[in-house]
């Protein structure tokens, strides 16, 4: 919320900051609004969305801008617009999914920072929203995101922990969507298995599956590969797999700082030869 005096100052000083509005709502404004939002140009997207308030795109974009445009943030109004889109059957599925994820995630984040948002986060039950999204479009990237946010929260609460790990395994096993969407989930699984249960066997299994499918972030791929070899070597003691991945690391990243360490570990394992 921007302090009111600031507006007084701008209007009084008469120095126009925001450019004057130009052409009326032409034919492809909805597409323009989506494009501006995708490029994170919130000022333009907000302006275009305001011109087409009754179209689905207009509502979606104005709701999302209310949430994420920090310079003119209005969380209450944004969330209520998105809630409207999420429940209405007439809206296209893609818009409803995005509205649901944005609504659920922001509600979840507000609950985590109570000292900042008070109980404004409790207005929407993000667990129900996420579960509904997962039912609406199983196998979509929205479902995957919803699942990841949900499972992390469940793993944080001790009593739900055991059930959460099973749910994690089931989700991955019968995930109907593109397997390329799963590496981030594998990454979370690997991390939580070590943190909560010190279970390196399962952790390495997930890391391996994630690495073989391929992490999107190049640096995650690189550190993931070395970590995989290191965990096999130092935590599980599975020599052949450790040697296999150390070699693969030396082959893909010969110049990296850790190449020398991989070489040392190979010698340690008695497989000095390249």
């Amino acid at each position: 919320m921007v302090n009111p005096l600031w507006f007084l100052a701008v209007t009084l000083a008469g120095v126009g900051v925001v450019g004057a509005g130009e052409s009326g709502a032409n034919r492809n404004t909805p597409r323009e609004a989506l494009k501006a939002y995708a490029a994170m140009d919130y000022t333009l997207a907000g302006k275009l969305a305001a011109e087409i308030p009754d179209t689905p795109e207009g509502q979606l974009i104005s709701g999302l801008c209310d949430l994420y445009d920090r310079s003119r943030q209005n969380i209450r109004r944004g969330q209520s617009t998105l809630a409207g889109i999420f429940v209405s059957e007439s809206m296209p599925l893609d818009y409803r999914l995005e509205a649901g994820i944005a609504l659920g995630r922001t509600a979840q984040l507000m609950k985590e920072r109570r000292e900042l948002y008070g109980d404004a986060g409790d207005r929407y039950d993000h667990v129900k929203i996420f579960e509904r999204v997962m039912k609406m479009a199983p196998g979509s990237s929205a479902a995957r995101n919803a699942f990841l946010y949900l499972i992390r929260e469940r793993l944080e609460t001790p009593e739900l922990q055991e059930a959460a790990f099973e749910e994690l395994e089931i989700f991955i096993r019968d995930f109907s969507g593109d397997s390329k969407l799963l590496p981030p989930v594998h990454l979370l699984a690997e991390y939580e298995y070590i943190r909560l249960k010190n279970d390196y066997r399962n952790a390495v299994r997930h890391l391996r599956e994630g690495y073989e499918t391929g992490f999107a972030n190049p640096s995650e791929n690189r550190s993931g590969l070395f970590r995989l070899a290191f965990l096999y070597h130092k935590k599980i003691g599975d020599k052949p797999m450790a040697v296999k991945y150390y070699r693969e690391y030396l082959e893909r990243y010969p110049y990296s700082g850790q190449a020398a360490v991989a070489q040392r570990f190979l010698e340690e394992l008695g497989e000095g030869g390249k």
């Binding site: 490029a39 994420y68 990237s141 995957r144 995101n145 943190r195 972030n217 020398a260 360490v261």
Partner: protein
């Protein structure tokens, strides 16, 4: 006023009228000059000229001339491609740079390419993520050994130094590389020690320093065995980092539950549980304190200007500094100068029993990070020039030829004196960062100040002194970690904004598969980033908990 003053006023009137007219004339002239100076610039250049600005704080001799040469070459080649381009260079002294850098980002229209400094939060908020652009080859590398490599792989360290670990994102690229070396005043060294071959181990080095001190007393000359530039604490941090790695590189095997490397929280947990003695982390403090007794007194205050003054005065035997002004020091010194690495902590030394020897410098010391702000008016041209600056041929033109620095790229050959600067790679031990210097910038500054105090005061037990003082400042360190955690949590919200934008991007590009592919890759990167954010938040919470439990020196773990 008495009569005499009144007529004085009238006679002065003409004189003051002249003054008034002169002032008006000067004012008109200055208005014209101001218009020509700023507004006029665009008028002078034809309107379709695209102007970008590059800004940095490297005032060393050679750097600005190198960038000017690169700009001239760039403007010529772009004119060849039919694109009218003007690149302006701005150099700001290092003292005023952090503030100048931050105010223009908040102010509104920052320079198009900026040398980056400051916290990850600022970088993430104001700088364009480069991950989508580092996968493809650098167009300016055609016909060079780096032709087939992607822009990222063309760097000596695969851009690892440019990776921002908090956001696992690349906000900048590195343009040059420095290593820390010792410049030796051979004339003084030979006079004092009678030897010509230079020390390679710490024991020989300290032995030489003792001889130098005695020589100084004998000759009644203010000999400074080891000269150090203290003002930005860089060199002290470098020496401490080197010996910390030489003593604690093995901690990387056990220093983290999740893989290779060390985490401060995990190390402190092991100390509290008695699995690790804090002595292991503090031995390097003892080594540096022992080396420090041969520093000049008042070394924390010596800045670059005095460095050269002291060295050329011939009273400093070993001068430790980065290789950024090595060449000018070697050439302008009135005596022969040789360059050696920081002597290795050897097994004979009382503290060296468990030392691991030299550490690889591969991928370390790569600096000069330049990024492109999100608010730039001409991102495409800025990216193009940045790739030009980090292309094989041009980077060498600027760095190697003009500044006599090392390039941040691969396949660069050095000859003559510069061969001594090349990083050490014939060892399998990697560097490891100490918890005292890697928790945050404030904690790092306090730790280096503590190290300086330990050197100045030479306490009988430097380890106890350092550890207890570290706990004394615990409150400020906890505050810095809490602030960082808030930063990470606040950032989860803006990362969700990125997720949402990418999702809308996918909706938009319905059929166009190549676009969808890029959006999906970036949304995966976003989600993987959120997982690494969870890691960072959990690590901070663990660190605060364990740091809170640490006890006075010697009372931990039992």
């Amino acid at each position: 006023m008495s009569d005499r003053n009144r007529d004085e006023v009238y006679s002065a009137g003409r004189f003051q009228k002249l003054g008034l007219w002169l002032a008006v004339l000067f004012y008109v002239l200055s208005v014209v000059m101001v218009i020509r100076n700023c507004g006029g610039m665009s008028v002078v250049f034809s309107p379709d000229t695209r102007v970008i600005t590059i800004a940095h704080w490297q005032l060393e001799d050679g750097f600005r001339e190198g960038i000017d040469a690169a700009i001239a070459e760039y403007e010529k080649r772009k004119a060849g491609q039919g694109v009218k381009v003007k690149v302006r260079q701005v150099a700001i002294p290092v003292r005023g740079y952090p503030q100048w850098f931050l105010t223009q980002l908040i102010g509104g229209n920052p320079a198009d390419i900026l040398e980056v400094t400051g916290s990850s939060d600022i970088l993430n908020q104001y700088f364009t993520p480069l991950s989508p652009y580092i996968g493809s080859p650098n167009p300016w590398n055609k016909g060079t050994p780096l032709e087939k490599m992607s822009w990222r792989e063309s760097f000596a360290d695969d851009m690892l130094s440019a990776l921002d670990t908090a956001y696992s994102e690349f906000f900048s690229v590195c343009t040059f590389m420095h290593t820390t070396r010792l410049y030796v005043n051979m004339k003084l060294y030979e006079e004092a020690t009678g030897k010509t071959e230079l020390p390679d181990t710490l024991t020989d080095w300290l032995d030489a320093c003792r001889k130098l001190k005695e020589y100084g007393v004998k000759q009644n000359r203010p000999i400074i065995p080891i000269g150090v530039r203290g003002f930005d604490k860089g060199t002290i941090g470098q020496i401490f980092g080197t010996y910390y790695s030489e003593l604690c590189t093995d901690l990387s095997d056990t220093g983290s539950r999740y893989g290779y490397g060390t985490q401060p929280g995990e190390l402190f947990r092991q100390i509290n549980a008695g699995e690790l003695s804090e002595d292991r982390l503090l031995e390097p403090v003892e080594v540096v304190t022992e080396v420090g007794q041969y520093f000049a007194d008042g070394f924390p205050a010596i800045d670059l200007e005095q460095t050269k003054y002291l060295f050329f005065a011939g009273n400093v035997a070993f001068f430790i500094d980065g290789t950024w002004n090595a060449f000018s020091m070697i050439n302008n010194a009135p005596f022969p100068v040789r360059v050696i690495q920081i002597p290795m902590l050897d097994r004979e030394h009382r503290l060296g029993a468990k030392a691991f020897g030299r550490i690889t410098e591969l991928g370390s010391g790569i600096q000069g990070r330049f990024g492109i702000p999100k608010k730039t008016r001409d991102f495409e041209l800025a990216l193009d020039f940045l790739q030009f600056l980090t292309s094989w041929e041009i980077n060498q033109l600027v760095m190697v030829e003009h500044c006599k620095w090392m390039s941040s790229l691969k396949e660069v050959k050095y000859e003559g004196v510069m061969k001594e600067f090349e990083p050490v790679t014939n060892t399998s031990h990697t560097a490891v960062s100490s918890p005292f210097t890697s928790i945050g910038s404030l904690t790092n500054r306090l730790s280096l100040q503590r190290l300086e105090n330990s050197i100045i005061r030479q306490p009988e037990d430097p380890k106890a002194f350092f550890w207890n003082d570290f706990l004394h400042d615990r409150e400020q360190t906890l505050d810095e970690i809490q602030e960082a955690t808030y930063g990470v949590q606040r950032n989860l919200w803006s990362m969700d904004g990125t997720r949402s934008a990418l999702a809308v991007g996918v909706i938009l590009s319905e059929s166009d598969s190549s676009e969808i592919g890029l959006f999906l890759q970036r949304s995966n990167i976003n989600l993987e980033g959120i997982v690494s954010r969870y890691r960072a938040v959990d690590a901070n919470i663990l660190l605060m908990e364990e740091l809170g439990k640490l006890k006075e020196y010697g009372k931990n773990g039992n």
